[in-house]
Symmetry: C2
Subunit: 404 residues, 2 copies
């Protein structure tokens, strides 16, 4: 499998773009993004589990219930959530986007990210849709990725090639996460495109399975947003025989999907609000995958460990503490903990107890940007990985600043 | 019910004290505390649910399995957790304390709080126990409360009088939480004394029921410590008829217990690491008590809301978001949210959507030290209260500073 350029425009038949339309006041910031497929595509999405859901979530759920979509539109700067007329506005966005592209509004995926509880005016979007559609190009992925960013400091796009049905297929994605200029919620939005032919059923199955190991294993601050969505459109223009059963082409598709999603996960965690470190926790030796996942997720979610990583403090006691309350079935007297980065690796806890180690080397390892916590539970064969970031002054600053 | 002075020494027949023995290097900081009853007392305790437990937890569990204890000893500066010889050291502390007081080591409650994964030397404690016992007094509650403090900035003691069985009984408590000079874990320790006569069974029942509404509803940072413990000793010296059934005296006892524990909860939350605000969330109108508790706890645990309270930002969207992922069964379109403090109260969300309000007044309200978030779910009669604090630069500083 090869990494390639082009993001969501890497797969055949997809164009994308992003413009400033005026939802945001800052004119130098794109706030409206669009992705369009030449032909109708199989589509699937997964959504936030939060009971409070952004209005666009409901419209998108309805629109792709039939497993088909042809375009996506997304604004940043306003989440269109907790608004009495929210669904009306989201549906209006679909109608405007569909009209510009000559596509039925039922085939539009719609999303919003930004402040919640403030009515979203439709005028800027109505004015922006036509010029945006006119400016779409097959190298517009980056503009679209910019259009969905909020306090993101890094662009998040990735694409890969993979073989299926005797031809080369491509799969690309863009993402935003996590923060906003006037922060309210760290919405995570991911748009994935693919030119493989795959049935809506298999696409849904692949995405649902994948997110359990990828996006559900990311945490920046433990707050589940109201607007999270991961969606995928696969338009079949690669010319492969359609993937409609659990065969080797499906496996190739899932592997490509996993490369794209896990790469985006790392990009999102690394760009967590205020983050200065990407924190990856790899658990092995667990009794079950469920135990491995509970353990890994608990470690990357611990405020105390996150603060220690900010301080490059090899405070393994906090790792043990987080394992202990994770809900995973573990034998604490079998746990080994290693810290690893580009500067090397160091065992800091053996059999659940302290061992001698060089604090100096540990500090050097933890001062690197990408830090891994490797945990061997020595109690089975199951493994899991979770991604997070450190807790910094800037997280507090970004989220504590006056909204008004 | 009257509030009275004296903390854990307010009930008849209890002496307490605290000294510096040398577990900590800073000689001006007491690091060893003791509480002794004149006579054996009914005893009960609840412990951390963390699978990684401090060694003293295991010893105390064993010692008060019979429902009887007569003294408590606690050091600060070292948690005696994740140490191969931890239980041996904790048991040695019981033997030393018991020998000094002429009490069986099986009747000693033992606790530790501090850095984990560092062997606890017994020498300072062996040297400190005799002078500490000699210095115990019936006005030594404050010294004992100081002896268990770590990064605590406020002393936490409280006592009340209540009538039971025709006589006046007293109940007092001290607590520590939450932080450490070389922080590892924000252990919460609570010692409660009472001079009422009550059977061990009823004492256990009362404490177990109470903590569900009090200590289990406090959160500073979501990290469940390895060493948390709440214990109570009731020595019967008030002279009341023993409370051994679910009668009105038991109800009076439970009411007194609840005043002491909920007061200590507020003290602990207000003194959370780095905290500048006490955050109280009161939920009413819930379908069930379970829903009310899930909702209240979720709100005080939200990193995003905690950062907003630090910034005095009336960001009610984060309250809705936390309600939405709380797991509580709520109708989001019925939710009202009010912020309240000494400066007044202000409705900021009605029926799950935005309403106009004065940002200026909201800010003034949120700038107060004690801030309440009042949530009416308008969907039933159940209520709950949870306590937390804001998320500040100082939390990151305290927990991100180099341990080494």
């Amino acid at each position: 499998m090869n990494h390639i350029q082009g993001g969501v425009c890497a797969p055949k038949g997809f164009k994308a773009g992003g413009v400033h339309c005026g939802v945001r006041k800052n004119k130098s910031k794109r706030d409206l993004a669009m992705i369009v497929s030449e032909v109708p595509a199989s589509a699937a999405a997964v959504y936030t589990q939060n009971l409070v859901k952004g209005a666009p979530i409901y419209i998108t759920q309805r629109n792709i219930a039939d497993g088909v979509a042809q375009m996506a539109i997304c604004n940043s700067g306003n989440a269109n959530t907790c608004n009495a007329n929210g669904e009306e506005i989201a549906w209006e966005m679909c109608k405007l986007a569909g009209a510009a592209a000559g596509i039925s509004p039922e085939n539009v995926i719609v999303a919003s990210t930004g402040v919640i509880g403030q009515p979203l005016p439709i005028e800027p979007i109505a004015n922006g849709v036509a010029p945006l559609f006119a400016a779409l190009s097959d190298h517009g992925s980056t503009e679209a990725a910019e259009g969905i960013m909020t306090t993101d400091t890094r662009l998040k796009e990735v694409a890969v090639e993979f073989p299926a049905g005797g031809v080369t297929c491509r799969l690309g994605g863009i993402a935003k996460g996590s923060g906003m200029i006037h922060p309210n919620l760290a919405t995570m939005l991911v748009f994935i495109t693919c030119d493989a032919a795959i049935s809506p059923e298999m696409l849904r199955k692949a995405l649902s399975a994948d997110v359990k190991d990828t996006f559900n294993m990311v945490s920046v601050d433990g707050d589940t947003s109201t607007n999270d969505m991961v969606c995928i459109m696969a338009n079949g223009l690669a010319g492969n025989d359609i993937i409609d059963s659990d065969d080797e082409d499906y496996a190739a598709f899932c592997a490509a999907l996993n490369v794209v999603t896990s790469t985006l996960c790392q990009m999102i965690a690394k760009d967590g609000e205020g983050a200065s470190h990407l924190l990856t926790c790899q658990v092995c030796g667990a009794k079950t995958t469920k135990d491995a996942k509970l353990a890994a997720k608990s470690v990357v979610c611990s405020s105390l460990l996150k603060a220690a990583i900010f301080g490059a403090d090899a405070n393994w006691g906090r790792v043990l503490c987080a394992l202990g309350y994770s809900g995973a079935d573990i034998d604490v007297w079998k746990v080994d903990v290693t810290f690893r980065s580009a500067k090397g690796s160091i065992l800091v806890c053996k059999d659940g107890a302290s061992i001698e180690f060089s604090e100096e080397l540990a500090k050097e390892i933890l001062l690197q940007e990408d830090v891994e916590v490797l945990i061997d539970l020595n109690d089975g064969d199951a493994t899991a990985t979770a991604w997070g970031c450190d807790l910094t002054y800037d997280y507090v600053k970004i989220n504590g600043d006056y909204r008004t």
